[in-house]
């Protein structure tokens, strides 16, 4: 049964990219009424999510490398085509993107400053992310890769915290510098492939046929990996990330910021590894080493922070270290664990950032030293916080556990030493998360604090689906793993 038989013929993938963009335009046109904007944005993100779920239900068992594909000529002068493709991997990531954007819009509900523009930028970001996860022509991918930066630049720079200017500029310069390296590598690969085959093309499927001498392969692999490693972020290219995440506006943008990190990993899986298999094989130990360093360094840094958001930012780096380790182990189990962990981490950390945003709006601070004793004041909020913190540290039965265990099992099978080295990292994770929970929920409450209201209906609407998902994916991750089976190009 192919996808085409179950779905009516329609450019669904273009719709995923176009719908949020249209929603953004509508938001800007209706900027006089904040209420209209909110509902417009919510309707847009919900519709996008509905399409994603529809695609998931209809296509997840498709055979062949692509579940859905769209193709049209764009710039024939350079063999650039408008090609979108959906496979199991992009299916999961588009689903995650669409879901987190619904959450983001709900979180942005109380935003006071320039709400229409804020929502419009969120939607443009969703469009860019969809494009990144769907494009299978290199230039098209590059286009979305850069377009995605612009809304993020403004979201951090305009609505961010105190150091927003510095964080925004740093984020922008870092990531762009990396992607320029990828651009040169892309052009070089295109020309090398053209010289070999006689037909110049930027299509991923064509470029995969290129045969390169090892030196060239190393260089081009380096160019691609620089872009992806900065985005992922892989130690030592991670320094922009804690700033960007901690300064990103609490109302809805920050959990989406987390999605940017996934684009780095996605880029490696989709482009860097399959295009340069020999260089990848040789680079895996280095990748694993950097992943382990990242896992520990970030966990240690998280332990030393007092700012709740910074703790979560470092925890993201630490988790992505584990994801990268799974990729570097290079076997099916570890790899599936990595993808699963990437998705569940998006959900859990997104939820944690959301809870912190609620906390911050009540207490006015994110500093651990000024928090404490929350359990007595707001038990529902505290319970949610505890729940997601436990999910984040990989409590069995909750979302992250399945991914982590698969990564460790897979890694142990091919590289037992790496797995053994990674285990203490999980202890570290437990340490900083417990410190976080302890510092906020228990202990003495600051004397001068006013009464704290508990969760509102809107906030429950945000958190409840995330809680359900976290439990569900912890108990039965199989539906997410199923579409991954047919993804090509990997072990």
């Amino acid at each position: 049964m192919t996808a085409a038989t179950t779905l009516p013929q329609f450019p669904w993938l273009s719709l995923l990219i176009g719908l949020p963009l249209a929603g953004a335009l509508l938001c800007l046109l209706h900027r006089r009424s904040r209420q209209e904007c909110r509902w417009l944005a919510l309707a847009t993100t919900l519709a996008t999510l509905a399409i994603c779920i529809g695609l998931f239900v209809a296509c997840r068992h498709g055979d062949g490398p692509w579940l859905l594909r769209e193709d049209a000529a764009w710039i024939p002068r350079f063999g650039i085509r408008y090609t979108l493709g959906l496979d199991g991997l992009s299916l999961l990531l588009t689903l995650l993107t669409a879901g987190l954007h619904v959450v983001a819009v709900l979180l942005a509900w109380p935003e006071q400053r320039r709400l229409p523009q804020f929502l419009a930028l969120l939607l443009v970001l969703e469009s860019g992310l969809m494009g990144v996860f769907l494009a299978v022509d290199l230039v098209l991918f590059y286009l979305f890769w850069e377009v995605m930066l612009l809304p993020m630049l403004f979201l951090i720079g305009i609505w961010g915290g105190e150091n927003r200017r510095r964080a925004a500029v740093r984020f922008f310069l870092y990531t762009l510098a990396g992607s320029l390296a990828m651009l040169v590598a892309m052009i070089a690969l295109y020309l090398l492939h053209g010289a070999q085959s006689g037909s110049y093309s930027f299509a991923l499927a064509d470029l995969l046929q290129t045969r390169l001498p090892l030196t060239q392969e190393y260089l081009l692999f380096g160019g691609f990996m620089l872009a992806f490693a900065i985005k992922a972020p892989l130690v030592p290219f991670h320094t922009w990330q804690p700033d960007a995440l901690s300064e990103a506006p609490a109302n809805g943008a920050v959990d989406v910021t987390g999605l940017l990190l996934k684009t780095g990993i996605y880029g490696m899986i989709r482009f860097a590894f399959p295009l340069f298999p020999n260089a990848t094989r040789d680079a895996l130990p280095l990748l694993a080493a950097l992943a382990l360093v990242g896992l520990f360094h970030a966990a240690w840094s998280a332990y030393r922070q007092d700012d709740v958001k910074r703790i979560l930012a470092y925890s993201s780096i630490s988790h992505l270290g584990l994801v990268l380790l799974g990729l570097a182990a290079w076997n099916t189990t570890a790899w599936q664990g990595s993808v699963l962990l990437m998705v569940t981490h998006g959900i859990v950390t997104g939820a944690l950032f959301a809870v912190v945003a609620m906390l911050r709006s009540r207490t006015g601070t994110r500093n651990l030293n000024e928090l404490g004793g929350l359990w007595g004041a707001a038990p529902q909020l505290s319970a949610c916080f505890l729940f997601f913190a436990l999910a984040s540290l990989g409590l069995p039965g909750l979302a992250n556990f399945a991914g982590e265990i698969l990564v460790l099992l897979g890694t142990f099978r091919s590289q037992p030493l790496w797995a053994l080295l990674a285990l203490p990292g999980l202890v570290f994770t437990a340490a900083y998360l417990l410190r976080l929970v302890q510092g906020t929920l228990w202990g003495p409450a600051p004397a001068a604090r006013a009464a704290i209201p508990d969760l509102t209906v809107r906030e429950w609407l945000v958190l409840l689906p995330l809680i359900v998902l976290t439990v569900w994916l912890g108990l039965a991750p199989a539906p997410l793993l199923a579409p991954l089976a047919a993804v090509g190009g990997l072990p």
């Binding site: 002068r77 230039v139 850069e146 927003r164 310069l173 762009l176 320029l180 390296a181």
Partner: protein, 486 residues
């Protein structure tokens, strides 16, 4: 004597100079009409010059795919010339649209301004279609002399006077180099016809290593490089660009610069194809120098007009990369890039005109604080231009840089492409800083002085459309640029 006149008028083909002829006729007619217009009445002059440009554009476009040669092969109106002519006409039209209100504000609403722009454009057209050194020289002089006047147009302002005088003195000096180079080449080959020079050097290959040929090539190159503001012949650019009236600066950095590229490209390709490795190596060094110098100095500027002047040097450097590549992709990349640069640069200058306040006192970075909130549409337009100048997709700047760097990589100059990309990364910083001021700082002013005249608005809208069209659907124009290469 009679004999000479006969030779000079051989093979007259007016069709080969028709576009510039029309334009010059409009310019001269305008000069005459100006005499009868009361002082301070500039609207008719604006309209007539715009009509002149539109008529010329129509005539120019007729020539696409229908090359005309004339005057004993001293002029060739081929696709190459036509492509550049359209670029010049666009630059001139956008400049004229944004000039009137600015000149009025600054108190120099003088009619002579418009014919001068038309003459500059005509000179640029001769440079692009010149296939004889004399035609190129003629075009260069017509273009430059009009520009000297335009640069010093604000005769009551010392900065503008300085710009005019500096440009004139240094320009005259560099013209000397150019002419000397031409003389030497004539001495070696006995011809001023580009194709004949090329053929002669080709059949007498020992002459290629002759010091006189090489000296001629170098001197010619210096003349052209001066006009395109390439390092180390760029010293005049910042002062001239800053001192000249803003629309003139915008025009200078787009039209005449493109003209210099056109003539330089044609001369190198027609006459000196035998010396390709030599001049390619020379331009390699200069391209790197030009990009780097422009970008590094632009970082430290706080006056946005001056910053754009330095950035314009670096953009000349990017375009030089296309010449270094010296292949079909590189050359057509130069054509495409100059067109794209016309849109993004003139657009940025048009925003400067609006924000600048009387006497141009509001051109510092602080002057742009919070502009994006007080004037949202202006902010969005400026963002588009800045993103295009940075070279981000989906704008014309990305398509242009992609084109040129692809040419360089194809020619094996991978390091040059990498240096170019690194330079782009440096340039991100200073362009981004303008955005930081526009959006990430609170407004300190209410920008009440900004009025939005329809004509300037038209410039900005056209430039935005150009930036986005060339960025999102570049294929049409890219294909044209490809057929424009000989």
């Amino acid at each position: 004597m009679e004999n000479l006149v006969q030779i000079a008028l051989q093979n007259v083909n007016l069709a080969a100079i028709m576009p510039s002829l029309v334009l010059v006729c409009f310019g001269m007619g305008l000069l005459l009409i100006n005499v009868f217009l009361p002082r301070g009445t500039t609207r008719p002059a604006v309209w007539i010059s715009l009509v002149g440009i539109v008529v010329t554009a129509v005539v120019t476009v007729q020539g696409w795919g229908n090359p005309q040669y004339g005057f004993s092969d001293a002029v060739a109106l081929d696709n190459f010339a036509t492509f550049f002519n359209v670029t010049f006409l666009l630059a001139a039209a956008l400049t004229i649209l944004m000039s009137d209100d600015y000149l009025r504000r600054e108190g120099y609403a003088v009619n002579e301004y418009y014919p001068l722009i038309l003459f500059t454009t005509a000179g640029a057209m001769w440079m692009a279609s010149g296939t004889d050194m004399m035609t190129i020289f003629l075009g260069l002089e017509v273009m430059s002399i009009s520009l000297y006047v335009l640069a010093g147009f604000f005769r009551g302002q010392s900065a503008s006077n300085e710009a005019g005088l500096k440009y004139f003195l240094l320009g005259a000096f560099s013209t000397g180099f150019l002419l000397y180079g031409m003389a030497l080449i004539y001495g070696v080959t006995g011809s001023t016809r580009l194709t004949e020079i090329g053929a002669y050097l080709n059949s007498h290959s020992s002459l290629l290593a002759n010091p006189m040929t090489l000296a001629g090539l170098v001197l010619l190159s210096i003349g052209f490089l001066f006009k395109l503001g390439a390092a180390p012949f760029h010293m005049w650019t910042p002062d001239v660009y800053q001192g000249a009236p803003t629309p003139v600066t915008a025009f200078m950095s787009a039209g005449p610069k493109a003209a210099a590229f056109a003539a330089f490209l044609r001369t190198l390709e027609y006459c000196f194809f035998g010396l390709k490795p030599e001049w390619s190596a020379m331009l390699w060094v200069l391209a790197v120098l030009t990009m780097t110098v422009g970008n590094v100095i632009a970082i430290s500027q706080t006056n946005i007009k001056r910053m754009l002047a330095y950035s314009s040097i670096s953009h000349a450097g990017y375009a030089l990369v296309g010449l270094v590549a010296a292949n079909e992709i590189g050359y057509s990349g130069v054509l495409f890039y100059m067109l794209a640069y016309t849109f993004m640069n003139i657009g940025a200058f048009a925003v400067l005109i609006l924000v600048g306040k009387q006497g141009e006192e509001n051109l510092t970075l602080e002057g742009f604080a919070g502009l994006g909130y007080k004037r949202p549409l202006l902010g969005v337009a400026m963002s588009v231009f800045l993103f295009a100048l940075m070279g981000l997709p989906p704008t014309a700047g990305f398509a242009g840089k992609f084109y040129i760097f692809a040419g360089a990589v194809k020619a094996g100059y991978i390091w040059l492409a990498i240096i170019g990309v690194l330079n782009s990364a440096v340039s991100l910083y200073y362009y981004l800083r303008v955005m930081v001021y526009m959006y990430f700082r609170d407004p300190t002013e209410d920008y009440a002085w900004i009025s939005l005249p329809v004509s300037v608005l038209a410039t900005i809208i056209l430039a935005v459309i150009g930036c986005l069209y060339l960025g999102i659907l570049p294929n049409e124009v890219m294909a044209m640029a490809k057929t424009a290469i000989f």
